[in-house]
Symmetry: C2
Subunit: 560 residues, 2 copies
């Protein structure tokens, strides 16, 4: 026998094995993305990993959207692309994750270390010798990034991942192709000392107790920075007897809207009047994860009295001007909940009027208003609802969601086309155990339609509803209602599922009236286990009322 | 009559009018992109402009690809997006224009000046108060950029446009929404003094004459930096009697391949041997626009003797080490052509063997080799051929193109999915007067398929050929021939045109044999005036020979 050099001289894991084990430990079970020659070795490692599954998407932007949707349901998402072409294509998706505080890791398979150091003019580079153009572009939309080297790979992987998970923002790790199978140099990590929370808990109690004990009305107002890791604490807080609650448009689904204390959606001065006054006139508002943006604040028309506001941020609480630092959001919510539970019960609140009044005629043409009333009835506890920005997200906002419904929407970054790939990620994160209902517009769906094929490829069973209003109605509401630039190509929507791989017998419907819609939704109920597709034909100028109010406000601001 | 304030107090054009007039003066007749609320006023101005037409694309990456394809045919392209979501989505397209030296202007409709200055948390921003994240990302892939202000708008528009047109690289101009209708402050521009070219012309003649006069063989070797503005001068140079010529894979279509002196495609050490030796052993090689990249150089295996090389760059010539600066490429080519015309005729060259030897059996399954032989016969003088990176571009490379054929491909940046939207741009740039043949793979087509709808919407008539080899065969040639990550969703390709808006009676074909292909191509000939679609089923491991040779070389380098 000849002596062959051992393939692996050490028992240390390779860089790829180490990285993938960290992803799995952070809760990822799927990795989304597109192959490219700089990442193929890395993909071999993904395919070989016992706890990870590769989910190829049709392009990288869709992969980033899918990872974002996955993280919103599962807590953490991963997109993996190739250098240059792939990482730039994904960039808009990563930026959305940044704007909306979603922890996504972008892994880039990049040219070998020697090629990078030499600045060789390889494909997917700008051919100008500078190999760092794209990581600098990524740095604009991530909270941490690293280009791995042999010496620092373990440390850098740990650093980027911990920042991503801590700050709930996207990060990127670039893996030069030569390092994939290199044994990793492990650095002994010092376990971080447990935070000493007794002091800030006392400080918060001291600041907040008098305010909460004397209040006759308390509203918990939840915004999108409360998305991750505080579900149980939020549920407990809004469950305190006679505490009222409201959400921003960016926080739909974060609390139980079937609870008796739920008021509705608060959008500053363009809220329904009953909700607006209930929030703004409350003796105390406990804000949870508030981070106002134009669309969530009704064009910056929020009026919350700082003297009556307890503002709970991810690591800090502001109690009417007194700052308590170093307290995680979960602990702050528990502390405030305890004060409210221990005090004398809050007075009973007056009930608000029910949000829906529409009495649709079953034979007339469909309207947005009727459509959303039907969605209200169609939703079940535990559903995942994915809505694209535009008429879909603003149509959904006023609904009273059944308990346990997650809403996936990009309400603030507002990149249309997001919803369809995000639905792929969300459904995989739920392990196929929850029904998923996707509602998107025709203009939005055209942006990313290729990902519809992924649902058939993987045998997933969402209800896909395309609101066909013949163009960009969200833009028509702002400017150019009849301008040609708000039109889109005319597609034969009901022929699309079969073209993109739907099996024979797939439930596909086109509806123009209420009764047709009712039949189609009933058929969707019956199609569980397979994708069902409904094209809903709506008037091109029919716009949910909330969208009109918000876009008027935004248009004033942008000079549009 | 009441006295109303005049809508326009001055005769000066608005910022939008000025910008659009500059685009038209630079040769743009179409503007590609997607509406968004920050750019709607700008789009009103586009729609109103007598010389410009708005071409809405299904998403922004497609818009950037279309503008790039447009610029390759028409000399200059424009993509217009909204802030944040739109500009980041387009980034990969812009980067491709940078890497491959294509002059594209990216116009971004952005938040109003006051909003930007305040760092207000508006939609499509990262909500962190920094409004310059995206222009900094764009700066990584552009040669010039500007965010317009009222005072400097005219100057900045002129500056960015002139750099884009001069350097043949992309640039970006961000137009805050409030400036669109603002009268522009015109600065008197000093006409640039005509360059004094007599001295560098003499210097080049002095350096090059002896070398060219004593040569017994001269090869003109053309690469992609010769893409713009030197067609006539190149034609004249390669038309000199007994001068030989060759192109790189990135320069297909830049010279007349039907000329007797045409050798073929030079790819360094992976060239066909007859081409390699004819180029490398020539007494003098006149390089025109050489800028070697891994894929064009056969993995950096080019061997050109610097002592026998006249290297003509866009503004500089290197004659065997003697540098002549300040001479535009066109003037250099004229000067060199004159020397060759004035000298004693070059000796007759030996003819090279014909590149195609395949004798396909008409009944057997199709192969890549047979397919490309059929494409060779199908092409006509004056066609535009658009090929995606992968088996398409490398299948086309060895063909001998009829005269006047333009080739649109992203051979170096190599972003798959580019071809389909680029074909839209290319066909519009040609004013519908030239036949366009698009060849793309299934994996590539899935990336950007929504833009197929744009051809139907505009009544365009390309021949669209999708090579269905069931996945990413270009990646399979590199690694993971049977790995799941190189598979894609199974689509019903022949059902797609109808789903995306094809009129009844559209010519759609699926072919698996040579005779079926022949019938389909004959039908395409008959379908002129309307789009024809052909799905060509090929074996998943069948790869053009040149692609195998190049990817082997690239794989070695990347450690894949």
């Amino acid at each position: 026998m000849t002596t062959e050099p051992s393939a692996r001289a050490t028992n240390a894991p390779t860089v790829a094995e180490y990285l993938l084990s960290r992803l799995a430990a952070a809760g990822a079970r799927h990795v989304f993305g597109v192959p490219g020659d700089y990442n193929l070795r890395l993909l071999d490692a993904v395919v070989d990993h016992p706890d990870l599954e590769w989910v190829g998407t049709a392009n990288e932007l869709n992969g980033a959207y899918a990872a974002d949707g996955y993280a919103r349901v599962g807590g953490f998402g991963v997109v993996l692309t190739t250098y240059g072409v792939g990482e730039l294509s994904a960039l808009n998706g990563l930026a959305g994750s940044f704007a909306e505080a979603v922890p996504v890791l972008h892994i880039v398979g990049s040219p070998a270390t020697a090629v990078r150091q030499a600045g060789a003019p390889v494909h997917h580079s700008l051919l100008d010798g500078d190999m760092d153009h794209f990581v600098r572009a990524l740095d604009e939309v991530t909270c941490a990034s690293a280009v791995l080297t042999e010496e620092t790979a373990a440390m850098e992987i740990d650093r980027v991942l911990s920042v991503v998970l801590e700050r709930k923002r996207p990060g990127s790790i670039s893996v030069p192709a030569d390092l994939v199978d290199t044994p990793i140099t492990l650095t002994a990590s010092t376990p971080s000392a447990g935070a000493h929370l007794a002091a800030p808990v006392s400080a918060l109690a001291e600041s907040a107790t008098a305010m909460l004990e004397s209040a006759r009305s308390v509203v918990v107002l939840v915004d999108h920075l409360a998305r991750h890791g505080v579900t149980a604490e939020l549920d407990a807080l809004v469950g305190v007897k006679n505490v009222a609650s409201a959400v921003t448009v960016a926080a739909k689904g974060l609390i139980d809207e079937s609870a008796p204390g739920f008021l509705g959606v608060y959008v500053g001065g363009v809220s329904d009047e009953a909700v607006r006054s209930a929030v703004e006139d409350a003796d105390v508002v406990i804000g949870v994860g508030l981070w106002w943006a134009d669309l969530s604040s009704g064009g910056f028309t929020v009026k919350l009295d700082p003297a009556r506001l307890i503002d709970v941020q991810p690591a800090r609480v502001d109690v009417a001007g007194e700052i308590v630092d170093g307290l995680p959001m979960a602990n702050a919510l528990v502390t405030l909940g305890k004060i409210l539970t221990d005090r004398a019960p809050l007075p009973v609140r007056e009930a608000l009027p029910a949000p829906f009044v529409e009495e649709p005629s079953p034979c007339g043409a469909l309207t947005q208003s009727v459509f959303w009333e039907r969605v209200q009835r169609f939703l079940r506890p535990g559903d995942i609802v994915v809505v694209d920005q535009g008429t879909s997200s603003y149509g959904l906002a006023p609904l009273r969601l059944p308990s346990g419904v997650d809403v996936i929407a990009q309400s603030l970054w507002a990149s249309i086309g997001y919803a369809l790939p995000a639905a792929l990620g969300a459904q995989l994160a739920a392990g196929g155990k929850r029904r998923l209902v996707l509602v998107t517009g025709d203009g939005a769906a055209q942006m990313t339609i290729q990902e519809l094929g992924a649902f058939f490829r993987r045998g997933l069973d969402p209800v896909v509803i395309v609101l066909n209003n013949d163009g960009y109605t969200v833009e028509r509401a702002i400017r150019g209602p009849k301008a040609p630039y708000n039109d889109v190509a005319h597609w034969n929507w009901t022929a699309l599922p079969a073209a993109l791989g739907a099996p024979d017998g797939t439930s596909v419907h086109r509806v123009e009236t209420t009764s047709e819609l009712d039949k189609a939704l009933a058929a969707c109920e019956g199609a569980a286990g397979a994708l069902a597709f409904v094209e809903v034909v709506l008037d091109r100028f029919d716009t949910p009322a909330l969208l009109c109010r918000i876009t008027e406000s935004a248009a004033r601001q942008n000079g549009a």
